[in-house]
């Protein structure tokens, strides 16, 4: 009889779904429709394979992360499962470098003490101490880069970003969580067009996704729109222009919304410019990262322009919930 391991305990599943098996033992697992539709009961398989039926209707990125619907999962082998958003592993990492990208954004390079699996575009939690942490997106690509690379934006009064900017230095050891998030490149449709839309350090995941796609010999168009109020808010412009010069299917548009456009920049928000250049997004895959208002608006606009709801991947950088006086922005777990 297959067993289900969860939070250190292990239960015989019998004829029950993973959801019923765990809730019968008093575990609080969110659920609503119990019919495999609403996705409230999403969980993650840490060990063991779930039946296909438990992943019906999930996006390819969710399936690749081992997510499944607990209400539809009748185990056929032993499983270890976790709540979809739970951080279950911490790893020590050495700071291998810190670069200034612009006035407000620094790149932090980290070398994990043991092999660290992630997909470009995911994010991890960086711990300042055992209780204080923030989420940062990964700009690096495992097959191209030795170290992990995070882009950290400094917020005035920001507890963790202030610590990173003022105290963290090469050689320091920090704790990081495993990588989370559904916003990453999945190979398999090499001719599909890809739209990448981001503001501020929302470029980090998009930079990783773009390089991952190009490195995977993606043949469809890849269009990257990166926006800021003025040119000082952008970064990586030279690198991205070099990538554009080397790859005919990749186009980079640095967008400036707050002032007249200078040479080499486009005037407007990334969303406006993207939709003007590509008014019909039928069949496209869309990645949206950064400012939550931009991400929400872009989700609807790109959907109305024809992108399928299952092909729109978003990573809104939401404000940390408390305390409200701190304007610290982090990327959420996949709760949104």
């Amino acid at each position: 009889m297959p067993r289900v391991a969860f939070q250190g305990a292990s239960y015989e599943a019998g004829e029950l779904s993973v959801l019923d098996c765990l809730t019968a033992r008093g575990h609080a697992v969110p659920s609503a429709c119990r019919a495999g539709v609403c996705q409230s009961c999403l969980m993650r398989a840490v060990r063991g394979a779930v039946p296909d039926k438990a992943q019906a209707g999930l996006t390819p990125t969710m399936t690749a992360r081992g997510l499944f619907l607990a209400c539809q999962c009748f185990p056929t082998e032993d499983l270890e499962v976790a709540l979809a958003d739970d951080a279950i592993e911490r790893t020590d990492a050495t700071v291998s470098g810190i670069d200034r990208l612009n006035d407000d954004i620094h790149a932090v390079h980290l070398r994990p003490s043991r092999p660290f699996a992630y997909r470009p575009g995911q994010f991890l939690r960086l711990f300042m101490d055992s209780r204080t942490s923030r989420n940062y997106s990964l700009a690096s690509v495992p097959t191209l880069d030795d170290d992990l690379e995070l882009h950290v934006r400094r917020f005035s009064g920001g507890l963790v970003s202030g610590w990173i900017f003022e105290q963290l230095k090469p050689g320091d050891t920090v704790a990081i969580s495993e990588a989370f998030g559904d916003c990453f490149y999945v190979p398999g449709k090499p001719d599909q067009n890809i739209l990448l839309l981001g503001t501020g350090c929302g470029l980090a995941p998009l930079y990783g996704i773009a390089r991952d796609a190009l490195n995977s010999q993606h043949r469809g168009k890849i269009r990257l729109y990166h926006g800021a109020r003025d040119s000082r808010g952008l970064y990586f412009t030279e690198r991205l222009r070099q990538i554009e010069a080397a790859h005919p299917n990749f186009r980079y548009r640095p967008c400036i919304s707050g002032e007249a456009s200078a040479d080499g920049y486009w005037a407007g928000t990334p969303l406006e410019l993207a939709l003007t250049d590509n008014p019909d997004l039928t069949g496209w895959r869309v990645y949206l990262c950064g400012n939550p208002q931009m991400v929400d608006a872009a989700r609807i606009e790109t959907f109305l322009a024809g992108a399928a709801s299952s092909e729109i991947f978003a990573d809104p950088f939401l404000p940390t919930a408390a305390p409200p006086a701190f304007a610290v922005y982090v990327s959420p777990a996949s709760s949104s």
């Binding site: 539709v37 989700r299 729109i312």
Partner: protein, 120 residues
């Protein structure tokens, strides 16, 4: 064969969900009820709704329907908006070439939720 199988089951729901949701978002009579909602969650909810309306597996109760729409009733959700949604649903199925007699059955199932959705 039940209605759900006749319409085409889960693949039919997948085919219908984006067409239906786009119609709803573009419908000036009801689009205001959808502004500011989380689109990813909303798409999953639309799927639940379509599955139910197609006679498919669901465990929603009248109480769920009431709770889920109470905040919209407070914002003025009434029969005219309910009718608009049913109309958009019918137009979606027509676009997918679902025969009229099946569309009528779907509309009839949707109709059974009216009083709960509108909190009557």
């Amino acid at each position: 064969m039940g209605l759900y199988e006749e319409i085409g089951g889960a693949p039919a729901v997948d085919a219908a969900v984006d067409i239906f949701y786009r119609k709803v978002l573009k419908d000036p009579r009801i689009s205001r009820f959808f502004t500011g909602v989380d689109m990813a969650k909303q798409a999953a909810k639309q799927k639940s709704f379509l599955t139910m309306a197609f006679g498919g597996p669901n465990n929603y109760t009248g109480l769920d329907m009431r709770k889920g729409h109470a905040h919209l009733v407070q914002r003025g959700l009434d029969d005219s908006h309910f009718d608009a949604v049913v109309e958009d649903l019918g137009a979606t199925l027509k676009e997918l070439k679902v025969p009229d007699h099946l569309i009528a059955q779907v509309a009839a199932i949707a109709e059974t939720t009216r009083s709960d959705v509108l909190g009557k």
